[in-house]
């Protein structure tokens, strides 16, 4: 299994994630990757409504958000979270990766999109990019792309 240099906050603390997916299986898979990247899972949610409540409760550094979910879909949840927290960093994670979906998510305030099945190296690069987007809030990651520990 590949190993990755830890992605850390500016204060050297682990990046805190909120993982949102109606599939427990998919959440576990993402959590496994977050742990590989040295992150901390601050919360989980199985639908958009719970995601909003969890975001307000834990104010994570990054949200990994599925699109197709019961009760409230991911794109609507993104819109509502970003309306309240303009600096929220949300990465959409969905198997449905067509352009309209991606554009809708980005227009609502998502920072990036990754298609399932998620490759750890792809998610790592996207997280690096999204974390470096706002250097005031979260520090640049400690390693550059490709600097995988052996």
């Amino acid at each position: 299994m590949k190993q990755f240099a830890a992605l850390l906050r500016k204060d050297n603390q682990p990046v805190r994630y909120l993982v949102v997916d109606d599939s427990v299986f998919a959440r576990k898979n993402l959590i496994k990757m977050i742990e590989m990247f040295g992150g901390e899972v601050a919360g989980e949610a199985g639908d958009g409504l719970t995601a909003i409540a969890e975001f307000n409760r834990i104010t994570p550094d990054i949200v990994l958000m599925d699109i197709t979910m019961p009760q409230m879909e991911g794109i609507e949840a993104v819109e509502r979270i970003v309306r309240q927290h303009a600096s929220a960093r949300i990465v959409m994670v969905s198997s449905v990766g067509y352009q309209e979906n991606i554009l809708a998510a980005l227009q609502k305030g998502a920072k990036h999109f990754v298609q399932k099945p998620v490759k750890p190296e792809v998610l790592y690069e996207i997280l690096r990019y999204v974390l470096s987007d706002d250097p005031n809030a979260v520090g640049a990651p400690v390693a550059l792309a490709g600097e995988h520990r052996s």
Binding site: T68, S94, E100, Q115, K116
Partner: protein, 167 residues
């Protein structure tokens, strides 16, 4: 059923299984089924509505689902009904999601619904009125079946544009 509707599902299934299971896969059987669907194991049904309408069923035995779950988790997973359900649903989500992405690139627009899981003894409601394509895919974890029944509801956007208005 038109092959252009089927090919994206075959391509997506191949890509998703190969990536998820980190091994090559083979299509070992491909047949048309005009009878009510007979489930082979645990099945996830995903409905699609829009320019194309229909449903796709991903079907695998609980034993294969456990092997897939262990492969995805990177270690042995304790067998349970919940793990089996989750595995089948997630595989179905990924295959159908990737398929509709390919179809969308061809100009088709539709909505995909969350999967319905079927694993009880009463089995899955049939699709006697719909011709379905059944694909058996051989993976390192065992055989996985895809049952696809699709039909056009609307013409693609570019085809609609190409037809001059009558009024």
């Amino acid at each position: 059923m038109r092959m252009e509707l089927i090919q994206p599902f075959i391509s997506a299934a191949d890509a998703v299984f190969a990536e998820s299971l980190q091994a090559p896969t083979n299509i070992v059987d491909l047949s048309m089924d005009e009878n009510a669907y007979r489930r082979k194991g645990v099945a996830a049904l995903i409905a699609i509505k829009g320019d194309i309408e229909g449903r796709v069923i991903l079907d695998l035995s609980p034993e294969v689902a456990m092997k897939v779950a262990s492969q995805l988790a990177g270690s042995e997973v304790e067998a349970s009904e919940q793990v089996v359900k989750e595995t089948v649903c997630e595989m179905a989500n990924m295959v159908i999601g990737n398929s509709v992405t390919l179809l969308n690139d061809q100009g088709f627009h539709f909505k995909v619904f969350p999967p319905e899981i079927h694993m009880d003894e009463t089995g899955l409601a049939g699709s006697a009125d719909t011709e379905a394509l059944v694909i058996c895919i051989e993976t390192p974890c065992g055989e996985i079946y895809l049952n696809i029944a699709m039909h056009y509801l609307h013409r693609r956007r570019q085809e609609r544009k190409a037809v001059p208005a009558l009024d």
